[in-house]
Symmetry: C2
Subunit: 350 residues, 2 copies
């Protein structure tokens, strides 16, 4: 199989973790006789530095034409420390999500008893955890009008949602629930926000089309607590953009490190695959970042190409590495392996 993959290494630890994912993909390609062609493109702080634009039009064109996008991470301390900067790395990612209409960010969370020792949670909280988060990614307060006056005395952000924006991702989430444990939990803040009331109304309306799926509603503050103290109650979680940013990161702690988790962003055009962690600038260039999130994102990409066997092989390699103590510094600060060593071990395994 021939696939053209747009690769956006991005900022911070983005390049080093993505390189390990590519190493594993290359091992897969060799073994299964596929051809993966990579086109590298700029986005984020690096793109601002070289072109002044966080998402150069060339990057957008390449992404549109590719079969999938593999992305690292975005963000830079220079901008984090300067709230007055109007051009920011993250705008590149937000624009890419919007241009490609990547409206659903899908984040699976499950635990493996062999890895319970990695989690900050006690084992009894981890049994039978297997859920997936559907986070809306192209609407809400991320994309509504933003204002900040020149004297920095007032600012505003508008959160807007339309019925159709909610419906399209809700359908995906319901379909997923139908094929899984038949439960969908909408997480919102309907006791306070008008947009959340709309989410609750639309999901309620759609639920009549999915009669075999049980629907539950949780307020986001309570949901965050439930994800920690009783994660096995969840099957498919559906949520809006800002609450989803948060909820999916809380969910990510369950497994022991946010460095472990992958995600897929799907929409009407090319899909994008990225680890859920950020650019983690303090670790950049030190070969200590966790490449597993990126490697598992590559596995999600293969799944999306319907290369199921190949994807499972990567997952087995990851489980083997973690199960045998081949972990990075985020998981074991004393006995740890380098980013590149983990990548090598997993690519040798597959």
């Amino acid at each position: 199989m021939v696939k053209n993959i747009a690769v956006i290494l991005g900022d911070g630890i983005g390049p080093e973790v993505t390189q390990q994912a590519i190493r594993v993909l290359n091992a897969i390609a060799e073994q299964f006789r596929h051809q993966f062609n990579y086109t590298y493109c700029l986005m984020g702080a690096g793109a601002i530095e070289k072109t002044g634009n966080p998402l150069p039009s060339e990057t957008l064109e390449i992404c549109k034409k590719s079969d999938a996008i593999l992305f690292g991470a975005i963000g830079h301390p220079r901008f984090d420390n300067d709230p007055t900067a109007d051009v920011r790395p993250e705008q590149g990612l937000l624009k890419l999500r919007q241009e490609l209409q990547l409206f659903a960010n899908i984040r699976p969370v499950s635990t493996d008893p062999a890895l319970f020792h990695l989690s900050p949670l006690k084992s009894k909280y981890l049994e039978d955890v297997d859920f997936v988060v559907y986070r809306e990614l192209t609407g809400g307060i991320y994309f509504g009008e933003k204002k900040i006056n020149e004297t920095y005395t007032e600012a505003s952000d508008l959160c807007i949602y339309t019925r159709s924006e909610i419906e399209r991702i809700a359908h995906l989430a319901f379909q997923s629930a139908k094929q899984r444990k038949k439960k969908l939990t909408l997480i919102d803040k309907a006791n306070v926000l008008a947009t959340s009331r709309l989410w609750r109304k639309v999901v309620k309306d759609l639920s009549h089309q999915y009669k075999d799926v049980k629907v539950e509603y949780l307020y986001a503050d309570n949901a965050a607590v439930q994800i920690i103290i009783n994660p096995k109650q969840f099957d498919v979680i559906l949520t809006e953009n800002l609450l989803g940013d948060f909820i999916s990161d809380v969910a990510a702690t369950i497994g022991g490190s946010i460095g472990l988790l992958p995600s897929a962003s799907v929409g009407v055009s090319t899909s994008l695959f990225e680890p859920i962690h950020g650019s983690y600038p303090q670790a950049a260039g030190k070969d200590i970042a966790n490449p597993i999130g990126s490697i598992l994102s590559a596995a999600m990409m293969l799944e999306y190409f319907q290369l199921t066997e190949e994807a499972s092989l990567i997952r087995s390699g990851v489980a083997w590495a973690l199960g045998n103590g081949f972990v990075t510094k985020d998981i074991d600060p004393v006995n740890y392996y380098f980013t590149s060593t983990i990548g090598e071990l997993i690519s040798d395994f597959v």
Copy 2:
């Protein structure tokens, strides 16, 4: 000392937990020869049922004239399940916060090695945890214009902040940090939101007045993870309204149950004290809810009255009860005590 306390029992488990707090307050009053006068008033679903108004004007008047407000919880399944209801219980609490300008919600989080077994987190994550969250409570998306059209096809919420709204709570947080471990962490989403950029700018500007306080900035998604995997890094956390709702509940899981934690909401008029948990309707009337959050809120109220010895005595009573296994069902679903028993034990202790 004579104090007039407005009591809002509220909805769900609100009445039963607040009654235990009052029982403990009465024991304190007797022992220390204080006189606490309670005036009961309506707010929330109960108030809507009886008066059509989630915050009757009489309640507001009583609260304004009292020395403090002791509040239970708010919310009712009837409204949770009906996103089309325009009059909602929570509006009562929001209006009260706004009318009294209760702009700072203060939530202390600390752990006691004797209680590590109650937490979902492994002990090593819990050592030396002692921080306090300052959540802005009268601005942001909670109070900006809300719109939802009649056909339920579009909705919006506006998030607005002004410099002065941020400054007044930031000063409180900086002052608290000065008296504590001299570190302030602003939690925002400045990589995406204009209002967060304003928060970061204002806090940066103010930091020059508090040179001995170290300031750090964290994005909310990362902060949620950090609170779980490395809570001891925090001293004073400052955050805006919606992110704070979330962040403070994540923080609350650390101790083992959200039922354990108290809060104080302070502003320019009467202060309000409430457990951080919600109305938990499934448990209402069953005598199984955890009254500790409410009892510790009463202790915070005594602290605010500068009755330090009395407040410590309540805290000792709580530590004694928890340390000796006198816990409610949320903490131990098998060997548990009733709400009223815990209240009785602690009021006997003090």
